[in-house]
């Protein structure tokens, strides 16, 4: 059974998402902030993180960047789940923040479940390997 961590500062959204995902047989963890999510990731390793962007404190962009910067968590599949839906927001999610995918709010249940299934069935993307390659190339 796959485990999904839902990170959103709005309790209602955490509850609704949790219900949707549990109904599909997933184990669901939830965090109310980026800080709480990073703390949880010290002890647990979900298969997928659904990450809100606009949160007080650490926002989703920064939370995702920190997930990618740590060896233990850098390869966890992360999907931004956000109402920030401009092309620029999507580019930021996929490029600068290193998320695997972007899902727009408001949530369409069927599409969300389908996307979650696709992300969990896809091989995880490996992060942070290019930098090593460049450094090695430069030394030789």
């Amino acid at each position: 059974m796959s485990t999904i961590l839902v990170v959103d500062d709005e309790e209602d959204i955490r509850f609704v998402l949790g219900q949707m995902l549990k109904r599909e047989g997933y184990e669901v963890l939830s965090a109310g902030s980026g800080e709480e999510a990073l703390e949880m990731l010290k002890k647990t390793r979900p298969d997928l993180i659904l990450l809100d962007v606009m949160m007080p404190g650490l926002d989703g962009w920064e939370t995702c960047a920190r997930i990618r910067s740590q060896e233990e968590t850098k390869d966890i599949t992360v999907a931004m789940l956000t109402a920030k839906t401009s092309d620029e927001d999507k580019i930021r999610a996929l490029e600068s923040s290193g998320a695997n995918w972007h899902i727009s709010k408001p949530i369409d249940r069927a599409k969300l479940i389908d996307t979650v299934r696709w992300l969990l069935e896809s091989p995880p993307r490996r992060h942070g390997h290019g930098k090593d390659g460049v450094e090695k190339g430069g030394d030789s």
Binding site: D87, K90, I91, L94, W101, H102, R125
Partner: protein, 234 residues
């Protein structure tokens, strides 16, 4: 008055020019007065794909004012085309400054003018996107192409160019991002999924457009389906 459609991609190497050239051939075969213009003035390839022998007038001659644009229109593989120069001396310093007015003339004479633009988001690409009324995005089903495609969409929206939809090229791998996910992320219609097809490479090697040399290939069949959708036949 026809419509000008920029064939764009967020990066080079997705097969945009092959898609553009073959789409022009198929649209022409369906009775649509179609012109393909090579707008990739630094890396023109439409002539090669159409199997045109170099030596005639080119878009570079039109842009520099050396040729009347109407005289640069040639017939090739059943469509009309204005190809680009391939000589280094003509490519250096080429400018698209006169492109919008040249394109307007062409649009007055054809139903559809397809413009094969340069990949990426350089100044030339932005000029071509801004000069065209509509845009078709060609991408491959991978994260890099999709992300760069989003940049093209952002530019098209800013310039007021209508986005007709996306064509996914080289699809068929189990590791592809599915078309419905791309459509959902980009909020646009996926008009066609062109399969990875060895006959495309074979046709390029032979110097014949795939839709002419191999009309029954999976790629050619799908490009016909795309053309049908574009002109509202399906």
């Amino acid at each position: 008055m026809g419509i000008s459609v920029c064939i764009a991609s967020g990066k080079d190497g997705v097969g945009k020019s092959v898609v553009a050239a073959n789409l022009a051939i198929v649209l022409s075969s369906l009775g649509v007065e179609t012109l393909i213009v090579d707008g990739d003035i630094e890396g023109a390839s439409v002539g090669l794909i159409l199997g045109v022998d170099p030596g005639g007038l080119t878009i570079h001659d039109c842009l520099s004012g050396k040729a009347d644009p109407k005289k640069a229109v040639i017939e090739a593989s059943g469509t009309k085309a204005v190809i680009g120069a391939i000589g280094i001396e003509q490519l250096v310093g080429a400018s698209l400054e006169n492109f919008p007015s040249i394109l307007e003339d062409f649009t007055g004479a054809f139903d559809i003018v397809l413009v094969d633009s340069q990949g990426g988001l350089g100044d030339n690409t932005v000029t071509v996107i801004g000069s065209c009324q509509a845009l078709l995005l060609v991408l491959t089903p991978d994260i890099g192409s999709v992300t760069n495609g989003l940049k093209i969409l952002a530019v098209a929206k800013k310039l007021g160019t209508t986005v007709l939809g996306a064509l996914i090229n080289r699809s068929g791998s189990p590791y592809d991002i599915p078309a419905d996910k791309i459509a959902d992320l980009m909020r646009l219609d996926v008009i066609g999924e062109l399969p990875e097809d060895e006959t495309v490479k074979r046709a390029l090697f032979e110097g014949v457009p795939v839709s002419v040399g191999y009309p029954d290939s999976p790629f050619s069949k799908e490009i016909r389906s795309v053309a049908d959708k574009l002109i509202g036949r399906t």
